[in-house]
Amino acid sequence: MGNRTIKVETMSRVEGEGGLYIRLSGDVVDEVRLEIYEPPRLFEALLRGRPLEDTPDITARICGICPVAYQMSSVHALESALEVTVSPEIRRLRRLLYCGEWIESHGLHMHLLHAPDFLGFDSGLEMAKQFPDEVNRGLRLKKHGNQLVDLLGGRAIHPINVCVGGFYRLPKRKEFQTLIADFEWGLGAAIETTRWVAGFDFPDFETDCDYISLSHPDEYPMNEGVMKTSGGDLIEVSHYEEEFEERQVPHSTALHAIRKSTGRPYLLGPLSRVNLNRDKLAPASRKLADEIGLEPLCRNPHKAIIARGLEIVHAYEEALTILRGDQPQGKSRETYEYQAGEGMAATEAPRGTLFHRYVVDEAGKIVEACIIPPTSQNQAQIEADLKQWISHVISEDEQETARKCENLVRAYDPCISCSTHFLKVKIERS
């Protein structure tokens, strides 16, 4: 048998566009490339010279699905540069906003992008004909996430209410109360959804990979913490760029990340967060994880859909606690003086840890920006896992092989717009 390539020109049901290229000699995999040719938009360059206040509005535009994550990492990093500490009230509201984004993003991925792979459909819209209740329930969950971001952020996509120091305006308690009944229903529905996806037929597949996420002593990680690894290491966010390295590869407009000390790729995202912080999930979510029998360290990437379900449940529980709380009090934002400096922050985007670093000058202008999105960090791990996966799914039917490879990539919920865009799946054999 000679060499062959398997190609998927445009991968579907992923955020942004890209492809997959696999080259085989016989049945041995020579090369796997997750190809990201989304045109570069050069955000880090175009932020330079702008007032630092522009940053959350501009970085939001890196991704229409997770704009809150970009806003959160940017405001935390800039506040660190300005040595501003926000009030517990603002911190609580930022977590609430993040809950909305997790519900919306995970709800979209689970129902419209990922579940069709397990049930044999081309799209969630087609799946809706046979599974109307499940899809409608998913759309309602997704809508709740959007409603929450809309209420607190002003709109669901590219919210306008986030600023360095806090918010332009605090929400009113009566606005919160309009959501409580829906969210009470949503919590139950999210539990049902998670039970539903946990019952899917998962391929018997495990990968040897390092899981990394933020971790916090008192709470499930979102806005702050230290980086924790499945090997038991703890890494301060301020050491991020010393610990992880982004390398440019010819086939991609996204940079590839590895951990310098191990020379290995690593995985961020919901599976890593649940693996490393399961004890910090809110009670119903934690109980559900036990009930469905999720392994303490789940190494099957296909099961990330269960981790997303557990995180939606967690987000509903945490959001309800905040929504039922008191009227937000105090200043809507902290004031600050400009000072030259550097600040870094990492927060947990739906797809994994998102790192930002900024250098600002004494006039409040951005001098340098560095943004490391989760998908570009995951890309090398996705390729390594694909290499292993191919030996499980290789057959003479190239279309089927390509489809199964695409299924695995989708399990990571790659956000190609974030990492810059364009996936292609091609398999080459000769």
Partner: protein
């Protein structure tokens, strides 16, 4: 006659505008049922070639490959509609227009030679005829659904061209410029967002691009009289619709003025 064939295409963008379609949770299944989705990679693995009755195009043209790709989409599409600020005016990435793109590339990539980009980020209409432009960064999902429904009913789509100012008056929002002296692009920005920013105590920053007949010189003059610098006034026009002619020209006029004074 079968259902109208729909294609959704992406260029340089954040995905937010096509996401607006999936975010129309209440109408999504009905819309999906009324059309035949032939190309919408974000939503479906079923991808078929044209022709398309309706093509929704998100994103701006920034690479030589994309400049060719849009030509084929135009040939395949009966009605081509751009969705959002990137497709309609070049988007935030058009900030590099007039700057040194090669230097920008070096700032982001260690080996910029691997990646081919054009010097400018340009709107779709600079490349092919566009039948309708839906504004916004992001677009308004209700406007999107309304426009699609108009097309399905055989009507010409229309969206209001008045300024955000009028929407603030309608909502009863106190003017942030008059009351707090906050700079606001509301008087010159097209309606569509429902005037959100002033209701959150901040000025409009122009997501929907220039309104019909915007009087930018008058707004700049007012801001300058209130004590803003020409650099600040010019800067406020330089974001998501920086390459829209009205914003671009006024920003340039102010920049030229600064140069003359120095």
């Amino acid at each position: 006659m079968g259902k109208p064939k729909l294609g959704v295409f992406k260029f340089a963008s954040c995905d937010g505008c096509q996401l607006s379609l999936l975010d129309a949770e209440d109408q999504l299944l009905a819309v999906a049922d009324a059309v035949e989705i032939r190309h919408f990679p974000e939503a479906s693995s079923r991808m078929e070639a044209g022709p398309y009755d309706i093509a929704l195009v998100e994103g701006s043209i920034t690479t030589p490959h994309d400049a060719e790709r849009i030509q084929q989409i135009r040939r395949d599409a009966k009605f081509l509609m751009t969705i959002g600020a990137c497709a309609t005016s070049g988007g935030i990435q058009a900030l590099r227009n007039g700057a040194d793109t090669a230097e920008f590339m070096r700032a982001v990539y260690a080996s910029p030679e691997y990646i081919q980009v054009l010097d400018k980020s340009t709107p779709i209409a600079e490349h092919v005829k566009v039948d309708f432009e839906l504004r916004g960064c992001p677009i308004n999902q209700y406007q999107l659904i309304e426009v699609i429904q108009s097309l399905l009913a055989g009507r010409n789509p229309r969206t209001p061209r008045h300024s955000v100012c009028l929407d603030c008056k309608r909502r009863g929002t106190v003017c942030v410029t008059v009351a707090q002296g906050t700079p606001c692009l509301g008087p010159v920005t097209q309606s569509g967002c429902n005037a959100i920013c002033p209701s959150y105590h901040r000025g409009c920053y122009g997501c929907y691009g220039p309104a019909a007949q915007p009087n930018l010189v008058s707004l700049s003059t007012h801001a300058l009289n209130e004590g803003a610098s020409a650099a600040e006034v010019s800067h406020n026009l330089r974001n998501f619709n920086v390459y829209a002619p009205a914003f671009r020209n006024e920003s340039q006029r102010l920049t030229d003025q600064i140069k003359e004074q120095n």
